[in-house]
């Protein structure tokens, strides 16, 4: 077996290693609430973080996500209507503004001071409604993703959403677990060099740096996918060609992210092939959706771009079909064994659990 030049042997006692505890185990982060297209004029009921919530658009069309139950008699605000930029409850027509504060109580002069619901900071970007969890105000911005912003014209892609019964962390640590590309996905990787990134510069291809530094985690996996003689190993040949889009043998996968999502750039022999933005819809404990956008960089020739896009779609769907059953069934409430190539996963878990801690501090106060 190839050893990985840049992964160091882990020297930690097993008890110091991060577990994946049962429960929500959500980090303070930006998550995807829903695709933008799902939220129109009418309020929408949704469940996030195990909480019943309602999403609606204010007078300016900006999305708002807040607790679903009206503090008056507990009616579902998702049955209400948006009037004058406020959400009006269906039952007694109490109205709530975008901060979750009751601004009008029908037939009453004085608004009860406790008439407020919890609202979550919300942003709309890249065709998704993003919601912040963990602290009252966001600790960082929704990260930059050029293929759906200033570089939009250079990419063509598709959106995806896959429901799983895995944890949020399962979905996010998967890209860091480079060894599973060989085993679960059956890729014949050679000369693999895996690095946990230290410098923002190393992730520049994914977009502007994710700040602060502590909210950023990145890895880079480089290596070769050699093509054996097709008649001797037809399956290996095929998977290698498909995985490298027939461009060459040397691949370079750059992954960086924040505690709730990731950006990917994949290149072969120095040529950028595709980019991915992956977010998570954290519906509840072991109830998640990996959601995002995946697209190829236009090549200048329409047929070649179309072929790459088709190939990428197949690759993306096939890979997901292999990953999701693992997410769905992997046990979380027990300790794991770590070997040398799990170095990246261990570092990711430590970093991630740090952000879970930050969310806990605030969520406990709010509870």
């Amino acid at each position: 077996m190839t050893q990985h030049a840049e992964s160091r042997l882990l020297r930690a006692t097993p008890t110091a290693l991060p577990r994946n505890p049962a429960g929500l185990n959500a980090a303070a982060a930006w998550y995807v609430a829903m695709p933008s297209s799902r939220l129109r004029r009418r309020p929408q009921a949704l469940d996030l973080f195990g909480q019943p919530l309602v999403a609606w658009r204010d007078g300016g069309g900006r999305p708002v996500v807040m607790s679903r139950w009206c503090p008056h008699q507990g009616a579902s605000l998702a049955l209400g209507r948006v009037t004058g930029g406020t959400l009006r409850g269906p039952f007694h027509h109490w109205r709530f503004d975008t901060t979750g504060v009751c601004v009008a109580v029908h037939g009453v002069d004085r608004i009860p001071p406790t008439a407020r619901v919890r609202r979550y900071p919300t942003v709309e970007r890249y065709g998704f409604v993003w919601v912040w969890y963990g602290t009252p105000e966001p600790l960082y911005d929704v990260p930059d993703f050029p293929p759906l912003a200033r570089d939009q014209a250079r990419y063509v892609g598709f959106r995806y959403a896959d429901k799983t019964t895995g944890t949020i962390r399962h979905l996010l640590e998967n890209a860091v677990d480079h060894y599973h590309f060989r085993t679960l996905h059956g890729l014949a990787l050679r000369n693999v060099a895996f690095t946990v990134l230290n410098d923002y510069d190393e992730a520049a291809a994914n977009g502007a740096p994710i700040r602060p530094r502590s909210a950023w985690f990145g890895v880079r996996i480089r290596g070769r996918l050699p093509r054996p003689p097709v008649l001797h190993h037809p399956w290996v040949w095929l998977t290698s060609v498909v995985a490298t889009f027939g461009v060459g043998e040397g691949f370079d996968l750059l992954v960086d992210g924040w505690p709730g999502g990731q950006r990917f750039t994949f290149s072969v022999d120095g040529e950028e092939i595709y980019a991915v933005l992956m977010g998570v819809v954290p519906t509840g404990d072991r109830d998640t959706t990996q959601i995002g956008w995946a697209g190829v960089r236009r090549t200048g020739r329409a047929w070649r771009t179309a072929a790459r896009l088709a190939l990428f779609w197949v690759q993306n769907r096939a890979g997901t079909a292999q990953d999701v059953p693992i997410y769905n069934t992997t046990v979380t409430d027990d300790t794991a064994l770590y070997v040398r190539y799990d170095n990246g996963v261990v570092r990711f878990r430590r970093w991630y659990q740090g952000w879970v801690e930050r969310a806990h501090e605030t969520e406990d106060e709010q509870a």
Binding site: N20, R182, T183, L184, I326, T329, T330, V331, A336, L337
Partner: protein, 347 residues
């Protein structure tokens, strides 16, 4: 798990496991286990069942010790079970034989593998420590030693724990009240002390795990002409190990039917009990296909009557009883002894 602290039970064992007897249980019918591993819940724990290179079944913990992936999604290669996620491989004993990509196999890379046997069309699994205290009991009707037979398999599911299913045969009174055996008759139960007294059921059950009883039911079979059954009372010879039992229904000295009954403790809300009913294929009405179907019908009806009771039963401590309950109480005592042994051996 928090209840464990409250009850002072050994950590890591669920309350359900604390109440299981050391015994052979049925994991699943052999026919359900082909080349692919099968994921099951047994003893309130997730297990994977697969066949090794020699075709022998293996029952072991389902969670890969590396990152917790489900081994039932894996594949059997070279007689070992390969995890789907990072291709670690485990042998039939549960030891990791290859940690793909790791310099050496990490200490602690092993999972529990249960003792297993395959017999009578079932995969049997032992609970109660790493070594079985006795063999899977003999059941001659299915080993060919009784000559040609007619038979059928049965499977039922119930929410009660295994003991309730197993003690039923030792409860003579319920035949009258649940199964409609005429009330003027009174089935009587004789507790047996000599394993030879149940030799009609097969070779003795080993390891001091044997318990046996004889039930006499002074009644005539409804479908059998008077001259055939006259003077020959119906009796039931039952002997058991803590996870199942063998039964012979006799008319006089003649064995009409034999049964093998075994349980599968799935989780606190589910016990499966299954087995075989076998009739000798000989001359006469009592071993005709019609008799088999008549038997099967009363067996099915009787079981539905029992299942209805099981569905609506609450646990009791046995302190309120009457003389007819001796059989059940003795069985419970015997059973509790084997539960104790399992607790000791599982420590």
């Amino acid at each position: 798990m928090s209840t464990d602290a409250a009850t002072g039970r050994a950590p890591g064992r669920t309350g359900f496991q604390q109440e299981l007897a050391a015994a052979w249980y049925v994991a699943l019918p052999s026919g359900r286990l082909g080349r692919r591993p099968v994921g099951l819940r047994l003893f309130d724990a997730p297990v994977v069942v697969w066949r090794d290179g020699g075709g022998r079944p293996v029952v072991m913990e389902r969670r890969c010790p590396h990152q917790g992936a489900d081994l039932s999604l894996g594949r059997v290669t070279d007689g070992s079970l390969r995890c789907p996620f990072h291709h670690w491989r485990f042998d039939a004993a549960g030891a990791c034989v290859e940690a793909s990509g790791a310099a050496r196999i990490p200490v602690g890379a092993r999972i529990r593998s249960y003792p297993v046997a395959e017999r009578y069309g079932f995969v049997w699994v032992w609970y109660g420590g790493g070594e079985p205290l006795y063999e899977v009991p003999d059941f001659p009707p299915l080993t060919g030693s009784l000559g040609p037979v007619r038979r059928y398999a049965f499977t039922y599911r119930t929410p009660v724990p295994p003991r309730r299913v197993l003690e039923n045969a030792f409860d003579p009174a319920h035949f009258r009240f649940v199964h409609g055996v005429p009330r003027h008759t009174s089935p009587t139960l004789a507790w047996l002390t000599d394993p030879a007294a149940t030799s009609v059921n097969g070779a003795p059950i080993g390891g001091n795990a044997w318990v046996g009883a004889r039930l006499d039911m002074p009644l005539r079979l409804p479908v059998v002409p008077v001259r055939m059954s006259a003077g020959r009372p119906l009796s039931l010879i039952v002997d058991a190990w803590p996870g199942g039992q063998r039964l012979t229904f006799q008319l006089g000295d003649r064995a009409i039917a034999k049964e093998l009954l075994a349980v599968t403790p799935v989780h606190p809300g589910l016990t499966i009990f299954q087995g075989w009913t076998v009739m000798p294929r000989s001359q006469g009405l009592l071993s005709s296909p019609a008799a088999l179907w008549a038997y099967r019908y009363q067996h099915w009806r009787g079981t539905l009557q029992d299942l209805k009771i099981y569905r609506h039963v609450a646990p009791t401590d046995g302190s309120v009883n009457e003389p007819q309950d001796q059989g059940v109480l003795r069985f419970r005592k015997y059973y509790e002894g084997w539960v104790e042994r399992a607790r000791e051996l599982e420590k």
